[in-house]
Amino acid sequence: MASLLRPDTWLYPTGRGLYCAPGDFYIDPGRRVDRAVVTHGHGDHARPRNVSVLATAETIEIMKVRYGARAAQRFQTAVPGEAVSINGVTVTLVPAGHILGSAQAVLEWQGQRIVVSGDYKRRRDPTCELFEPVRCDVFITEATFGLPIFRHEPDAREIGRFLASCRMFPDRTHLVGAYGLGKCQRFIALLRDAGYDAPVWLHSGMLALCALYGDFGIDLGDIRPVSEARKNDLAGGVVIAPPGEASGRLARRVSDPVNVFASGWMRVRAHARRRGVELPLVLSDHADWPEIIETVRDTGAEEVWVTHGREEALLHQMTRMGVNGRALSSVGRDGRVS
């Protein structure tokens, strides 16, 4: 890969988002653009009102559910693993293992390959395809959990702790705070895998996305809106709600709930205590520290650009590994006006 081409001359961050200059498109733009490649459906990656969007079929449907008619003017479905050419730049979406439909964007131009991983994780998830490492020259990684203290526990262990708590407090409602897209469905799927077959009660905002998961063949079992529950139904039951809702009004509808929060942040118990979480579950859709390092190795990248999260420690780690690490925010800042 002894290309003389500097990668940051053809892919760099701008005010609208990460921009691929020869292809004239953005990846996960933060503001409205003409041509966008969207890695997955979370709100900080998939924004409404772009003109044309390339994404996986799942991501497109998620955007339609969330944004309706304003999702985008035109959608182009990318089949994972199949290359698409945009103005001479080859774009391939490859599973990222983050949530349903999530993908890495593999960009190739003039013999150079850059992988924009988006958000990703390496462990198996019943609700999405497993991450596939791609050899590349430049790997762009998230650093959400960019400190060596962050190591997520095995899913089965955390679900086991959850079910043990349900048995120990058979009269209290377990009120789970989880993001409505991805974590919610994965949590239910893990519960079902562990043999939990009672109804799971959901905050109304989560139902449409769960139905969509069903359309893509992910069976979540008996799920019901919590608004239809009578008080007796909830005693000893499981309710899932977005993190904000879980501590607010809903918390008062159920008497003496066990507040559960499923997130990689829960690894640090002080976080759990600060948020009033009684049962912290270390369950994340993002790569933990060992996974990030393993992935950098798997890609064989000589250069790694680090974005959202704790860049400092991860960049230090890249140096220790002999990899050229840069904060994505600093990429392309040397002279070019964008």
């Binding site: 203290i149 702790r161 708590s165 003496d256 640090v268 400092e312 230090h316």
Partner: protein
């Protein structure tokens, strides 16, 4: 050990004592001896290791593969013990952690900090992250988690379906790993005979009367004896064989903090009374508690005595089944006969009917007492709440208007959630909003009318968040009832309100109507 680590982890995040009790009693039911007894000893702080070391955790950080990563991690987590536990590599293949019994026994045998460090390092690779954290805390001589001893006792009682008093009575005579206790609770042995002299006996509680319920009830001197409710701390003097110990209401041993009481010539008796400061304001007595020792100087500065009002044992004879009137006679005899002790007899108040009681209650604040106690003359000394025996009738509360400064979601209770408000008084007349200063905290439960409106208002008027605490924009005030104003040097305002309670929510109250600090300060007791 892993099971105890799981328990400690859950206790660490448990929102209220009921959850803690359920967790501990569940653990006791699922765990065998002697492991569970060691666990109880660690939770209650009765198990003391001969060698402890706080450097085990920092040594782990120092030895981490990269100093900067360790430093960043510590800055992020905050706690050295937790950081070390999180950084330690996850076990790849593990034979599992040692049973708690093995671990405790090994630590009890350790003679040097270096040996302890080696022992801990050997176990670290077999524990998960919460387990490693627990181990490092234990090795440092810290409590595994903060749990009150009374929660531990209630949990034992609930696990074994016995009264907590049955545990309290023998608790001070038992030691970890509590094999005799659990043998009895499991039905394999008799109740442990506690050899310890001067043991704790559970207190008789009094039900609190509210203003209305007291007025509806007719008290009559022939049936109910009346006493002042002294403003101090309830204590039990337990003296046998020349050894005197003083216990708090929860059964904590206060003896070392109260040398003048333990040195008294009490003879052989168990007495119930209220510890009060002789000259100073009521709050002073607390300066004598919560410490391991009282210096001679402190004893001089804050002299204390006990207002004795009941006798439970005399010369080995259990008097608790006797009627109060009979116990009272024996108590008066005892106080006449006993030697030099820092105690006085709490007098009975003379009254004919309820109107007299009203009048006495009206005098309570001037008399420097908290109110009246009414006790059924024919009743025995019971150690559980029983209707119709003892009543506390607090003096009429004071009342003032205070602003809401901060709010925090309180512990949820069986009836629902609550909000805890920090109440503010005005520093100077006519000063701006910034001049409010905290004078106390008050809970409002979700069953209070207007709670929903308050929650909504908070959502729209939060200014800043400090963890779980929110600072509020001006506009919410309360009419607050409180028992007293206590001087408190460590608070910015110099005072704190005792037992504040909501009387009324005030919307749009003018800042000029908020109580002024200088007015409140004039109400300080004593």
């Amino acid at each position: 050990m892993q099971r105890f680590a799981d328990l400690a982890d859950r206790l660490h995040c448990a929102p209220h004592s009921r959850a803690q009790i359920a967790l501990i009693s569940d653990y006791l039911a699922a765990t065998t001896d002697p492991h569970r007894g060691w666990a109880i000893g660690l939770l209650a702080g009765t198990l003391v290791l001969p060698v402890t070391s706080r450097t085990v955790a920092s040594d782990i950080l120092d030895g981490y593969e990269d100093a900067r990563l360790a430093e960043w991690s510590k800055d992020y987590v905050g706690d050295v013990f937790e950081t070390a536990a999180l950084l330690w590599p996850e076990p790849s293949v593990s034979k599992g952690p040692p049973p708690l019994d093995d671990a405790v026994c090994a630590m009890l045998d350790v003679r040097t900090a270096a040996d302890l460090g080696a022992l801990v390092a050997g176990w670290m690779g077999h524990l998960d992250a919460p387990g490693r954290w627990l181990l490092l805390r234990i090795a440092a001589g810290l409590a595994p988690v903060t749990v009150s001893v009374s929660v531990v006792k209630v949990a034992i009682a609930e696990f074994a379906r016995v009264g907590v008093d049955d545990i309290e009575e023998i608790w001070h005579g038992l030691n970890p790993p509590y094999l005799d206790l659990f043998a009895w609770l499991d039905g394999h042995g008799s109740r442990p005979e506690v050899q310890s002299e001067s043991m704790f006996r559970p207190f008789m509680p009094a039900a609190t009367l509210t203003g209305e319920s007291a007025e509806r009830r007719r008290f009559d001197n022939a049936e109910f004896a009346a006493e002042w409710q002294w403003d101090g701390v309830r204590v039990q003097i337990s003296s046998t064989g020349g050894v005197t110990r003083v216990f708090s209401r929860r059964g904590d041993d206060l003896s070392t903090a109260l040398p003048e009481l333990c040195g008294g010539a009490w003879g052989d008796a168990v007495l119930d009374g209220e510890l009060v400061s002789i000259n100073g304001p009521p709050g002073e007595v607390n300066r004598r508690l919560g410490r391991k020792k009282s210096s001679a100087r402190l004893c001089r500065e804050v002299p204390v005595e006990v207002r004795v009002f009941d006798i439970l044992f005399r010369d080995g004879r259990d008097l608790r089944r006797l009627a109060l009137s009979d116990r009272r006679e024996l108590l008066e005899d005892f106080m006449r006969d006993c030697g030099d002790v820092p105690a006085t007899l709490s007098p009975l108040l003379d009254y004919d009917h309820s109107d007299d009681l009203q009048r006495l209650r009206g005098e309570a604040r001037r008399a420097g007492v908290r109110g009246l106690l009414l006790k059924r003359r024919a009743g025995p000394y019971l150690h559980s709440a029983s209707a119709g025996e003892w009543y506390a009738w607090p003096r009429a509360p004071l009342c003032t208007r205070l602003a809401a400064l901060y709010v925090q979601r309180g512990d949820s209770t069986a009836v629902g959630s609550s909000l805890t408000f920090t109440l503010g008084a005005a520093r100077a007349p006519g000063a701006g909003d910034g001049a409010l200063v905290p004078v106390g905290k008050m809970d409002i439960a979700s069953d209070e009318s207007g709670f929903d409106k308050i929650e909504e208002w908070i959502g729209e008027n939060t200014q800043e968040r400090f963890g779980p605490v929110r600072s509020l924009a001006p506009g919410l005030a309360f009419l607050v009832e409180f028992d007293a104003v206590i001087a408190s040097a460590r608070r910015k305002s110099g005072i704190v309100l005792r037992a504040p309670r909501l009387r009324q929510i005030l919307w749009g109250e003018s800042p000029d109507n908020i109580a002024r600090l200088d007015q409140l300060t004039t109400l300080i007791d004593g």
